[in-house]
């Protein structure tokens, strides 16, 4: 794959606007007539007129290659057929996420963080092509038009036109403009239209290259035996049985376990399986997840770190005519991406180069630099496609990059591929935290909500990580996001947090805290609306009073309209549930039609309405909504990681950890709100509302809300 190393700071998009540095040619460019035009860090225009966008947000399936390339193509006035995309190399100076300040993908930030920089990159390139044509033709730049990849000038005497490729040799001494002019939304011809997904062909014919598909001559493939319980460490081991296996070349102890180096993946797995290891479990988590859940549930009742306080919650409950209570338990969840963790490193004497589906390039680069004791600039990272991630490929401790680095360090210069088996992935931790919500609601005599309490007990994602500084007043925001700042009129409300400890590593999982907070809040609210005798849609609409209530109202009214909401009963034994939840700046409402087939929920159809600002690619928004709700539904229906008595993980593969299959996927109908507001992300917001929508339908069927997920335990 391409390994571009732009050596100049082309421009930075900051709060002060666009900063342009001097143009310095790429290495070799002066001597090569075939060199591309590189107006900035993001755009490469080749003599054949192909335009390659270096995409700074990893393509994990969410569509960044298409979305960010569309932003460039729009302002460049390119023809979509000439556009190409590839992942940018690791370089924090050039490719930092403008929201995070480091190079990384997450939090549904790719679209909002790229909206200005990528359009500015395209507009700057367009202006430079126009300047080159104006000089060549001797006409004013203002008279030159660019459309669908053709630069043209229509004069009285002549019609002049050029392709981008024609102009590439004429751009060498041009300087990027200070303030490239951007289009207004009414001028968009690609944004808002379904340009074809740029990676669709290679992902339909088997030629797409993932980290697992990278091979180097002489490369050894490595499997690692890790502790069977979280927090255990190696006490002693005998490498002899593994070394006797055909194809096994080396066994070494590394910080995370025992590494087996072999000629190929199968030999590495076979060798790893026969290792004889004694583990020291002194610091291990030995509680079962049932015990953990009991401890968390107890702690939730006395949670005392205040995340939000509105009005006077004690007075609110004192005046309530009725108080309702509920505990919701949400289990540990595995990301279970189809491609398990894998990656290749090539170690030299003073540098290392990685090929892997990195999602947090700056952290991976710094981790490898620290492990090898090299300067970060001596660590190159080639980001490959990834077979899903859902958050799994970025961890606060960079454990995968650390392990791969330690493998190379232990064996010396050479090429190594680390492959996690499915079992390694499923039993390896980094789960969505097991969480308990202890809810209380107070209703007055007319059924209006007068008090609201949500006590959350969960492990912190940030504690002990480099992001610990973001914990303020004892509150890890990722534990309570989606439970505070609710859009509803809840006059006396308190959200409190009990941060729990366990050696079980936990991690953000598509939509992070919203995955549990949306369930607890939207199901409990629904219960209170029912107690108060309110319609579930109108009751929510009547409560909306936030500053952005209009956008909440917009999606809720839209989904009620397309689903033809008439209440809970949809006939034929089918009941309806509704949920509304904003996450990552995008607003989503859903209605689910659900029946019971011998006590097993069957979801027939889901309607969803989404407001994510200017819809850049409606087709990709549709897929992210359908995929996001499929992901959330899979967890709500089936998924649960459990720890047995003693602390071992019970599940090891898709047989024990059931995920949604084709026949279980409901029909989906999605409506996208027209908007001229700057776009927000779409990778995560489709996940949170589906579990409460189904849960609310199940209460309509059975009379009780499921208080514990999944709905269909193993």
């Amino acid at each position: 794959m391409g390994h571009l190393k732009p050596n100049r700071r082309a421009f930075l998009a900051g709060s002060a606007g666009l900063v342009i540095a001097a143009t310095i040619p790429l290495p070799g460019r002066a001597n090569s007539g075939a060199a591309p035009f590189a107006p900035n860090a993001f755009v490469r225009i080749a003599p054949d007129s192909s335009v390659t966008v270096l995409v700074k947000h990893s393509e994990l399936g969410q569509g960044t290659w298409t979305g960010l390339t569309t932003m460039v193509a729009e302002e460049l006035d390119a023809d979509w057929a000439q556009m190409r995309a590839e992942n940018a190399p690791a370089n924090v100076d050039l490719y930092a996420n403008s929201i995070f300040g480091v190079q990384g993908t997450g939090g549904s930030t790719a679209t909002p963080a790229s909206w200005m920089p990528m359009r500015q990159a395209g507009a700057a390139a367009r202006a430079m092509l126009v300047a080159a044509a104006a000089r060549e033709w001797g006409v004013p730049a203002t008279e030159i038009d660019v459309s669908a990849g053709i630069v043209s000038h229509s004069g009285l005497a002549s019609n002049l036109s050029a392709t981008f490729g024609d102009l590439v040799p004429l751009t060498a001494d041009l300087v990027p403009p200070d303030e490239p002019v951007l289009k207004t939304p009414d001028q968009f011809v690609l944004i808002g239209h379904d340009v074809p997904r740029i990676d669709a062909p290679e992902k339909s014919n088997g030629t797409a290259i993932y980290g697992m598909d990278v091979f180097h001559d002489g490369m050894l493939t490595v499997a690692v035996a890790r502790p069977p319980k979280f927090g255990a460490v190696v006490a002693s081991f005998d490498p002899a049985p593994a070394l006797e296996m055909p194809g096994v070349q080396r066994v070494a102890q590394i910080p995370s376990g025992i590494a087996v180096y072999a000629d190929d993946t199968w030999a590495a797995f076979q060798g790893r399986d026969v290792l004889e290891i004694t583990w020291d479990e002194t610091a291990a988590e030995t509680r079962s997840s049932e015990e953990i859940a009991r401890v968390w549930a107890q702690a939730a009742r006395t949670a005392d770190a205040i995340a939000e306080d509105r009005g006077d919650v004690d007075a609110g409950f004192a005046q309530a005519a009725e108080v309702v209570e509920a505990d919701f338990l949400l289990p540990y969840l595995s990301h279970a991406a189809m491609e398990p963790l894998d990656g290749v490193v090539e170690l030299s004497q003073d540098s290392a180069e990685f090929w892997m589906g990195s999602q947090w390039q700056t952290s991976d680069q710094n981790e490898a630099a620290a492990r090898f004791e090299f300067p970060p600039e001596n660590i190159a990272i080639n980001t490959t496609l990834t077979g899903g991630s859902f958050g799994r490929r970025t961890t606060a401790d960079n454990h995968f990059t650390a392990e791969l680095s330690e493998i190379a360090k232990a064996a010396g210069p050479g090429s190594y591929k680390l492959v996690w088996s499915r079992e390694d992935d499923m039993r390896g931790g980094y789960y969505r935290p097991l969480t308990v919500h202890h809810m209380q609601g107070g209703l007055d005599a007319d059924g209006n909500i007068v008090a609201w309490r949500n006590n959350v007990a969960s492990q912190s994602l940030l504690a002990g990580s480099p992001f610990e500084q973001f914990i303020t007043d004892g509150i890890d925001g990722s534990s309570v996001e989606g439970s505070r700042g609710l859009p509803y009129r809840l006059p006396n409300a308190r959200v409190a947090l009990a941060t729990m400890d366990s050696p079980v590593p936990v991690l953000w999982w598509r939509a992070v805290g919203h995955t549990h907070t949306a369930y607890a809040t939207e199901v409990f609210l629904d219960e209170l609306l029912e107690r108060g005798g309110k319609d579930r849609v109108q009751g929510r609409l009547d409560l909306l009073n936030a500053d952005d209530a209009g956008r909440h109202r917009g999606v809720l009214e839209r989904v009620a309209d397309i689903a033809d909401w008439q209440g809970l009963d949809a006939g034929n034994g089918i009941a309806r549930g509704v949920a509304l939840h904003k996450s990552f700046g995008s607003y989503v409402a859903m209605i689910a039609d659900v029946s019971l087939d011998q006590d097993v929920p069957r979801v027939h159809k889901v309607w969803a309405a989404v407001d994510c600002g200017i819809p850049i690619n409606p087709s990709i928004i549709q897929t992210q909504m359908a995929g996001g709700l499929g992901f959330g539904m899979s967890a709500a229906m089936f998924e649960e990681i459990t720890l047995l008595e003693g602390g071992e993980v019970d599940q090891s593969n898709y047989d024990g950890y059931r995920i949604l299959r084709n026949a279980e996927m409901p029909e989906v109908e999605i409506s996208i709100i027209d908007s001229t507001v700057d776009p927000t992300g779409i990778g995560e917001p489709g996940t949170p509302p589906i579990a409460p929508a189904i849960g609310n339908a199940l209460r309509a069927l059975t009379g009780v809300s499921p208080r514990r997920l999944p709905f269909v335990p193993a």
Partner: protein, 153 residues
Amino acid sequence: MTTSITVNGVPTEITAEGDKPLLWVLRDDLRLTGTKYGCGVAQCGACTVLVDGFAQRSCITPLDSIAGADITTIEGIDGPEAEAVKAAWTAVEVAQCGYCQSGQVMTATAFLRDTPQPTDDEIIDAMDGNLCRCATYTRIRTAVRQASDALEV
């Protein structure tokens, strides 16, 4: 030991232990990387290939069970059904991460060879064994239908 198989029409001698799964022979020995590892225990379908024309999970197919067999992978599959399926997969834009899609395409192709004009329920049944963590399932159904329609004309 040496085992003779034909892979995408090419007679091939493989020197490996007899219990080595076909998946790793294809990927690591032959570098045919379109066939994916997802679970290793025939739960997900990402490794689906055709063995003598039948869709099979290569991760649980030991090399010594397929001596003399004709293996087709995503790199080699052709014919009207395969072309229709790949074209439909691209046009419908089924893939998100794309990792499972080789297996989906192989399963769909084998299915349409047997059942060129399936009912909707038959499509869902045929595709139910192939997991997709991105939940592209509704577009998978649409693409199989589109490929079937294309074969009809």
